[in-house]
Symmetry: C3
Subunit: 352 residues, 3 copies
């Protein structure tokens, strides 16, 4: 694609040779003259100066460092695509220049589809896919090999489901949902009632899972069905690998759950929150909109909207930074206190 | 079902209209006149007062708050099912009124069953199930689509296995075992011997996994086979999603392992213990009966029976509560010590 | 096998009856006269003295404790196989005496293999395996039932893949790779660009996963494909269950990632490092060779080679041991400081 055309499509300002031909996208270290590359900020300027990329996506005012001789000559011929959001432009450039592999419409002869199931037009159903009674999928669905849909799964348009995903009965999914390999939706919640002898009676889990639009759930993550009613993953939520969402939770719109996060039962997370890797939230908690929790932290209480929290149990992030700085020198602090006590001498008897 | 009959079946004391017809179960907020709902304790009384439920499961002495006008009129017509354990009664009510979907007996034509495998009567075998040489399953087994049994898996009665479960060779299972989607039983243990050059020789893992009766293991959890002999999950154990039980562990009867718990190799957990979410236990530890470990805690030592432990490394829970309260204000404590030192002035030379 | 022959094959020094017949391997407590058992160090001498094993693998100078009567008589007839590394000898002994079950070469009639896929000689392809367009597998591959290879997966010799593994398109694997059940290679990385309205645009993940030689990845672990270029798992790496390796990471040769470890994006781990269970590493970190991180620790910064680190955030292990010892008594430390302050009396006004 001509660079001038690419600039127009990506809504970028072109600085340089609009006739340059750009065929692909690569990182700064791997890019050649036919590749677009990108740098998000000034930390990558040295790599960018050494890059052979045919064009660079970058924020408006980023300039390569002044250099002498050959490097200087090189610097002169860089073609820039300027945009305040090179990350968003990169996402679009990849869709244009390196479209992800996607199988064509058609139904593999080995697939097992219940006669009552309804598939929209232009669907792809891979080898050994099993679709249960009464399922209904919108147009353009792609089910990779070995996907299992239990009865009565209902999904909107353009569902993309990778191999070995299991979607249990009565799960509802919106439009443009993406499920990476091994995801389990609608497994039974962990609901048991303890008998007096210490054994546990299973509480049947007869609710469902309800997934909004534009949700992506990544490899081997699990969303359990509700005991009654539904576990909700609202529109725009993105869930990384190996994450656990327990029964009756509600994850608010556009919230991010990073890898290995665990939410216990009946917890509600607001909109646009970010839970970093390995965060845990206890059951029946309510976390406000735009809460940020840093990696490996955990909370067993509610957290108000908009704050940043760290630690296990979690509290204000700035306060936690101070506390962890002292923690690393806790041995010294203890010695200091002992010294002070020694200097004050034995306690008066009345203190005992 | 008539409420009087339901009360009898659930062993509850009826207060109200025994002729009321109850068809289903719903939560307080969703229940209508044909639904049974429940409240475990007084925290839910306000919701209960606003509920339209046809009957309420509740402890004996729980009463709706006195209210005026319409609310008061409403309060009068509540039908109560009284029981000291509404949670246990709820489990029974769900079995009666909202039985979970379960496929009928029969073998799907696409299933691949080795001719030497033996299945008891009334089994259901779903699409693309693969059953290896010499497997033996008791009566009433349900294998959902895509279950894989390696050779010589032996199970008792009423095995219920969800889609994409893998049970490796020689695994033994008792009666009434439930496996949610994606569970892996009998994967190789993580056993490697380090060579002098830093590379690792695999120690073949030739033991098995042995699962007792009434065990439930939930989605995408893993129990590794032993190096030699067996990894034991004793009767009544319930394991939540994404949990790891390493080779040669033994998990005692009726113990609960919540989501994302990890047990390293050769660790033994006693009976009726509770390990909350994301807890880790190092290898070769012994934890006593009825130990409780709170979420995200970890231990690399033994823990005596009956205690409650927190932290990483874990210690007594009450002591940990005090320590974490101070931790959050560790910056202040350090400033306090510095102030005290300043007030005492420079240290005498002999102290250095 | 005659014990003398076994000693020769294991490169051990025989002390005892070379004519003894050894048929299998068992742990000290389960071994009988026909079994080889082993003890790594002196902690197991009491068990060894009570063992009925026909021979014992042990370090050169380990001797059973002097005992009286029957025990003493028993001690005299122990046959020893002496080696400085009984763990390595055990691994070899298991390969000789208890070879793991492995299915014979052949292709199951239900397997779905794309006509363009190439398989080397002596491969086993199990029931319902799906192999996509253009895949190439070296000689001796074993694919257990329900393995899914997306298009263009390329692997070296003796690939061993257990049931329900998913390998997405364009993944490259070296020789002697072992994948336990449920592993996902090449799932999309967690790459999203936040729009101004708080929603997220997916950054297409068009890179690949590149796995070296002699890598083993255990049950339900995930290695994500790179955004661009490759995520690298170098030769000799061993990854335990339920572990997450994010897009664009590089895990150096012979490094161990224990169960439930999580690496965020673009992180590089050196050679021969050990990350214990549930460790987390933030994105864009660089960890040096032979770094050891203890269980449940986490780091968001770089770590130099060769150190041992603990805590979340992690710092020097020895320093952390001191800090955690004080942490457990933090309540006392605070009381001590308050007492000292009380003894010094009210602060002079100028301090405020």
């Amino acid at each position: 694609m001509r660079l001038a055309e690419l600039a127009a499509r990506l809504h970028c300002v072109l600085e340089g040779d609009g006739e340059a031909n750009i065929a692909s996208v690569a990182s700064l270290g791997h890019a050649g003259p036919g590749d677009l590359s990108y740098l998000a900020d000034a930390r990558y300027l040295t790599q960018a100066a050494a890059s052979r990329a045919g064009a660079l996506l970058a924020p408006p005012d980023l300039a390569l460092p002044p250099a002498s001789g050959a490097a200087s000559a090189h610097a002169r011929r860089v073609n820039w695509l300027r945009t305040p959001r090179p990350d968003l432009a990169l996402a679009q450039a990849l869709e244009l220049l390196r479209p992800a592999w996607r199988p064509p419409p058609g139904i593999h002869p080995t697939a097992s589809i219940h006669p009552t199931a309804q598939l929209g037009p232009e669907c792809h159903v891979g080898a050994f896919v099993a679709i249960g009674e009464g399922c209904r999928l919108g147009p353009g669905a792609v089910l990779h090999p070995h996907v299992v849909l239990y009865p009565r799964v209902v999904a909107g348009a353009r569902l993309l489901v990778h191999a070995h995903v299991v979607i249990r009965e009565d799960t509802r999914l919106g439009d443009d949902v993406v499920l990476q390999p091994g995801v389990v939706l609608g497994g039974d919640g962990y609901g048991f009632a303890r008998r007096d002898d210490g054994s546990h009676a299973k509480v049947p889990q007869v609710g469902v899972v309800d997934i909004g639009d534009r949700v992506e759930i990544q490899a081997n993550s699990c969303v359990d069905r509700a005991t009654l009613e539904a576990t909700y993953i609202r529109s725009g939520v993105k869930i990384d690998n190996l994450t656990q969402v327990a029964h009756n939770c509600e994850v608010g719109p556009d919230t991010l759950l990073c890898a290995q996060v665990g939410l216990a039962g009946s917890t509600r997370i607001g909109a646009r929150a970010v839970l970093a890797g390995q965060v845990g939230v206890a059951g029946h908690c309510t976390l406000g909109d735009e809460v940020v929790i840093t990696a490996q932290s955990g909370t067993h209480g509610d957290l108000p909207a908009g704050g940043m929290y760290s630690g296990s149990p979690a509290f204000d992030h700035a306060q936690w930074l101070r506390a962890t700085a002292v923690f690393a020198r806790l041995g010294e602090l203890q010695r200091e206190v002992r010294k002070l006590r020694a200097r004050l001498g034995p306690e008066p008897a009345k203190d005992a």
